[in-house]
């Protein structure tokens, strides 16, 4: 039993597979949902999946650069959320209750 538990210690591969599953869930969310806010949340899911795989690979390769990259990805994600929500707010103010099909022409 103890040998089984020792064999079942999570390796980097486990984390990478989990990140792949999370990325797939985010992909399906972006493709399926119509609400722009929820689509944005699904993009955050995909960003987090990539961050998780960066950190797992940083541990496996013994390279701190992976964690540095995650740091920059977080900063860019914060800026991206601010700009994206600004765009969504300005669109929704003009036409309340719009979903992404209504604004697919990219013009007012």
């Amino acid at each position: 039993m103890s040998a089984l538990v020792a064999a079942a210690t999570p390796t980097a591969t486990w984390y990478l597979v989990l990140a792949a599953v999370l990325f797939g869930i985010g992909t399906v969310g972006v493709l399926v949902r119509r609400n722009p806010l929820v689509m944005f949340m699904c993009i955050e899911l995909m960003l987090n999946a990539v961050n998780l795989s960066f950190v797992a690979l940083a541990k496996r390769l013994g390279d701190i650069g992976g964690q540095t990259t995650v740091f920059f990805v977080m900063v860019v994600a914060a800026a991206e959320v601010v700009v994206g929500l600004g765009i969504i707010v300005s669109i929704m103010r003009k036409r309340p209750g719009a979903n992404v099909d209504d604004i697919s022409a990219l013009k007012g």
């Binding site: 990478l16 597979v17 797939g24 399906v28 899911l45 940083a58 013994g62 920059f72 959320v81 600004g86």
Partner: protein
């Protein structure tokens, strides 16, 4: 012990991720997103990325999700939307096929390459009781040493994002008065 942490955090991440996609209420989706982000923070701690785990909780689960909830309340879209009906019949099965394909391909690549790379860098410092902030020191050496130019460019990016958002969401009263 490590296995228990992994299983619990993975359950948090997957339940939260499915909740974001499947819950029809945007506020519930945002709360599911918090669950996922906390699970990822636990994973960061398990992978010796302690500073990033703190940043994950503060920036993502704190600032970003609060911003999401704020916008949901501001726009008044905090009502259940109808996700049962689908205007394009083929879209949902196609999306699920694409998602499963992404998962399958990436998993195959990960599993196939699991023995290829051994070690590249000089190692991640494992924080011990005698030196608890070694991860922060190592990360800051990297950010302010090797990647200092990228760090400075990031500050430009943040300024651009702030100015752009102010321009985007500004009320256009003054310009409409000028045009009259």
């Amino acid at each position: 012990m490590e296995l228990v942490v992994f299983v619990l955090a993975a359950a948090m991440i997957l339940v939260g991720g499915l909740g974001v996609v499947l819950r029809s209420h945007p506020v519930h989706a945002a709360l599911s997103l918090i669950l996922t982000l906390f699970g990822v923070a636990v994973m960061f701690v398990a992978q010796e990325a302690h500073f990033l785990a703190a940043v994950q909780v503060i920036v993502y689960a704190g600032a970003i999700v609060v911003l999401f909830l704020f916008v949901i309340m501001l726009l008044g879209v905090d009502r259940t939307e109808d996700i049962k009906t689908e205007p394009f019949k083929v879209q949902r099965p196609l999306a699920i096929i694409v998602g499963l394909g992404v998962i399958g391909l990436v998993t195959a690549a990960v599993v196939a390459s699991r023995d290829v790379v051994a070690t590249r860098g000089s190692g991640i410092a494992e924080p011990a009781m005698t030196d608890p902030d070694s991860n922060i020191r190592q990360l800051s050496r990297s950010v302010f040493g090797d990647y200092v130019v990228a760090f400075e460019v990031t500050s430009v990016l943040l300024v651009v994002a702030v100015v752009g958002t102010v321009l985007l969401t500004r009320k256009v009263k003054s310009t409409s008065k000028e045009s009259q």
